[in-house]
Every structure is written in structure tokens, then in C-alpha cells.
Symmetry: C2
Subunit: 188 residues, 2 copies
DNA sequence: CGCCGAGTTGAACTGAATCAAGAAACGTGG
DNA sequence: CCACGTTTCTTGATTCAGTTCAACTCGGCG
């Protein structure tokens, strides 16, 4: 769990007693490519810290599937809105590759918030980080054209373009794979 | 500042010593309709708790203006992403009506986080609330048609439709005023 | 009364979706 | 290691939602 500790220490100093308490709250899990971590309609029970692999956030409606976010190694992932509100999740979380992760249950997370000195501080930081990302995305979706959104991925989140199949990237920027294919032809 | 106290008590119990400390950190401000609270390109210095009135979040590019959010009475408002990251704000915050508010500076907010027992808990809750709102909005922008987004405003945030001029509502759901006008004709 | 901004309506245009088919890449088993 | 089937990507033709430009109506206000 060294990566989690490093992550927390990037936010606030972590003393040994807090850390000993926190270590017990996480469990190790692994998923095969394609596995569902969180089903649509369920209430998210876990917050994941991805050690290896990539997860994908997507919605299924009728036969079509829309991908709207990804979670990479050494970051926290999960249907945090469902987890916070305790309401059914409007989307799914799936393993895009084989995935290994540490995860903490909702109840244990509340324990961490209540019983450690750093709990609320790291929880606040996590929420802020998630908020800032969505905030930036909102502006991109409202103000940029599809081509501009694709180009901005190069500067903002190049790992998405490098590591993710095009059909999911297309979905992420809010267009069809066909439209993305045409945009790429124009650019290159 | 009773409304702020009530807001915090909805999150976690507030003891008297914390409250005495917090009270000193806020200041009272008022704005006339049309005033700019936060300029595009500046770094947000304040978090506002709106007592009366409505604020509007918008982007100016060339001659056109795009509105993407509103802040109502008894809620916190401000360019929180700019405030958190200490980076120039990509949008503006303006008074849609006359506005009165309590505001807390970035530095004072950090004081509150460090020196009160409830600081990080209420900060976490605020961030979570903001995150959940943006998260819901992301799904709406990606998955719903303009008409569906307009209809969902009726159920989700009816006060926007009741109290906000149509041209801003149009912008909020990501279309032109003309397109919204046509959608309304279809519905009614 | 006349002006001005907000809202409506019409017509032409456009970016992206959809439908459909072919080409390339990928993985799996023989 | 190759052959086959499956999935992904590309390309073309058509359609459609929403934009743009422009004209007109309405209501409030100096």
C-alpha cells in the first residue's frame, strides 16, 4: 500500500498511528479485463485505488454503450457520486484491462473520516480533485467543438489517446467512432 | 450568519468555540445586478455564501457569452476550481440580480480547515456536493438531447426555469435561445 | 411615444449521427 | 506459425438536430 501512503503524504503528513489504522481498512482485489466493478443501478460500496490497469466508466442504454471517463493506475476510482449520496449508480464501472486495486468500503471510509486525524483532509482533497476534473470537462463539452476536444486531449490527458481504443475515446469526447475517424483524418 | 451555521449543522455538529472562530473569518458583501464577482483570468480569492439573489457562471469568448451554471440563495458559490488550484479562472462569476452574501477568503478558509474541528468535514462535504452536481451534469450533457435536458430541468432544478431569463437557460443546457424557443413550442 | 432587449419564427446551412459496407488489426485454436 | 473469425477502424451516402442569419413581435421603460 505504499502508493496510497505516498498519495496521502502528498496531501498532508501521515503519522504512524493513523497509518496503522488506515491499513486495516483496505482490501486487495483483482479483476479480469471486462469484469464489472460496479453495476448500473447498484449503490457503490467501494472506493478503489488502482494499482495496475485501467477502469472505464460507462452507461448502457438499450444496446448502445457510452464511455465518459477512465481511471488509471495510482489514482482513486469508483462511482463516488453514488457512494456519497447512497443512491443507485447511473452508470457502470468496468475493467478495461486486467486490474489490481486496493479498495475501501463505504463503512470503512466513514471510519477513516471519523477516527483518523487525516481522514477529512484527504477526503476533502479527493473530492476537490474529482470536482476540478469534472469542472474542466463541463467547460470542454460546452465550449469546444469535437475536434477541439480531441486536440485538447493531447495536451491534457495524452495517456487516454495512447492507451485507450479509439471507440472509447470517441465516446469520451462525446462523438461516434466514425466521427472521430474523420477528425483524425483531417488532422494527420 | 445563521444560515451558514444551519448549513454546517446539517453536516456535522458545530461546537461553540469552533463557531466563534469561524464567525470572524467571514465578511459581508453586496453587489448590484450585473456586477462581476470574479473576473475571467483572475485567481478566485473568495468562497461566497449567497444570502439573497442569484449569481451566474459564464464564459466570454469574442463577443459571445456562455452561461453554464447558477448559484442560488443559501448555497455556497464561487469559482471553486480556481480557488483550489490557485490558477486563473477560465470563466466569470456575475450577479444576475442584486446579491448579498457572506464571503470567506482563501487564506481564512485554510485557517478554518487547519484550526477548527469541523473545517475539513464541511470542506469535504462542500466538495462532494459540488462534485455530485457536476457529475450529474456531465451525464446529462453526454446522454440527453437538448429537449431531454430541458425537460429534466423541470424535475431536477425547476427554480432555474422559473427564475432565470430564457437566454441564460438556453445557454445552460448547451443550445441557442432560438433552439430553446422551438423546443418550448413543441412541448406546450 | 419611441426605443431597446427578450423572445419568436422562418429559411438556409452545417457538424455530427446513422446506416451500410469494406479494410485492417487482433486473438484464438488448430 | 498460420488461418479463421471477430472486433475495430475507415470510408461513403444520407439524414437530422441544432446553428446562423435575419426579420418580426412584444413588453417594459426612459
Amino acid at each position: 500500500m505504499g502508493h496510497i501512503k505516498a498519495y496521502y503524504e502528498g496531501i498532508t503528513p501521515v503519522d504512524e498511528s493513523d497509518w496503522q489504522y488506515i491499513v486495516r481498512l483496505f482490501e486487495w482485489v483483482s479483476f479480469a479485463k471486462g469484469d464489472i466493478l460496479t453495476a448500473q443501478g447498484s449503490i457503490e460500496q467501494f472506493l478503489y485505488f488502482i494499482e495496475t490497469g485501467i477502469v472505464r466508466y460507462f452507461i448502457c442504454q438499450d444496446t448502445i454503450e457510452k464511455t465518459f471517463d477512465f481511471g488509471f493506475e495510482k489514482t482513486f476510482a469508483g462511482a463516488y457520486d453514488s457512494m456519497v449520496l447512497r443512491t443507485p449508480c447511473g452508470y457502470q464501472l468496468g475493467a478495461l484491462t486486467d486490474v489490481t486495486a486496493w479498495r475501501i468500503s463505504y463503512d470503512n471510509l466513514q471510519q477513516m473520516y471519523q477516527h483518523t486525524k487525516i481522514g477529512n483532509a484527504v477526503g476533502r482533497k479527493l473530492s476537490e480533485t474529482l470536482y476540478v476534473a469534472k469542472s474542466k470537462r463541463e467547460l470542454a463539452l460546452l465550449n469546444l467543438t469535437a475536434k477541439e476536444r480531441y486536440l485538447s486531449l493531447f495536451s491534457e490527458r495524452p495517456e487516454i489517446i495512447r492507451r485507450i481504443p479509439q471507440k472509447y475515446v470517441a465516446s469520451y469526447i462525446g462523438i461516434t467512432p466514425q466521427a472521430l475517424s474523420r477528425i483524425r483524418r483531417e488532422i494527420c
